[in-house]
């Protein structure tokens, strides 16, 4: 019976922490034929082991060729990959701004070139 106040205070502390977690919005990975989108954090913390989304950029000092590539897989295992050869600086910059707070949207054309990369970084995605 003496433990009741302790338990109550622990429960109260946890409740306050949950209440102060800030606004959160989960964006699971969605993959279509022409594009994919979703949150990096949502994918990482999803209950399945399928989801991922991310982008990469390649550059080398011994080559004038560069590329940006993005990839995603949804919970059902559908995946989509795209790459753009020698992208514009702005496409490169979008791909490189991805972090754990990112929601990524990318579109692909029929040759699987990345035609559109959108990155939104926000605390709500964490």
């Amino acid at each position: 019976m003496k433990e009741l106040p302790i338990i109550a205070s622990v429960v109260a502390t946890l409740a306050v922490q949950v209440a102060n977690a800030g606004y959160h919005y989960s964006t699971p990975i969605t993959v279509g034929t022409g594009g994919a989108y979703g949150g990096v954090h949502s994918a990482r913390t999803s209950s399945d082991s399928n989801q991922f989304i991310g982008c990469a950029a390649y550059g080398a000092v011994n080559s004038s060729s560069t590329y940006v590539a993005c990839s995603a897989r949804d919970s059902a295992g559908h995946s989509l990959y795209c790459a753009t050869y020698n992208p514009s600086f702005y496409v490169w910059q979008a791909a490189m701004s991805v972090n754990q707070a990112s929601i990524i949207i990318f579109n692909v054309d029929s040759s699987y070139n990345c035609t559109y990369i959108y990155v939104s970084n926000s605390s709500t995605n964490l």
């Binding site: 991310g54 011994n62 004038s64 590329y67 590539a69 990839s71 020698n86 040759s111 699987y112």
Partner: protein
Amino acid sequence: MVRLWSVCALSVAIGAGVGWALHGSSSADTNEAQATTPVAQLVPSRPQPAGPSGLDLAQLHAAIREELAAASMGQAANKPSATTAAKEDVPASRELVAQRREAMQDIQTLMASGEWGDKERTEFQQKFAVLDPEQARQALQQIMKGLNNGSIQALTNVPL
């Protein structure tokens, strides 16, 4: 009397001619100066007294000139350099052509294995650096096609 009139008419003609010539050269100089004036020089460079806010106008103008110059340099840097553009115009040596052909064959072999993990990605990137732009574009598209149609199985979340 006739002689006097002739002298007067000649003086007027010479005066008009000289005047027209001076006017023409002055206009040409002005246009030329306007056409060749860099943007940064449009800001007056003569020293100005400090304003009531305490800002030194000369320093302000110098700062603006630096900003304009930096912006011009930045724009130039964003454009593809002439050397880069010309690089592909120079015919590749026979050795380089052979090296590129071999690199392309190695990439085809990597794709034919049907699996694409970190090892394949690393090897691909080494070969990719050698390829000419058309080969590089083609290789990227083939890998993307393989990954998306399932003929290449991705063993890593970041296949490229």
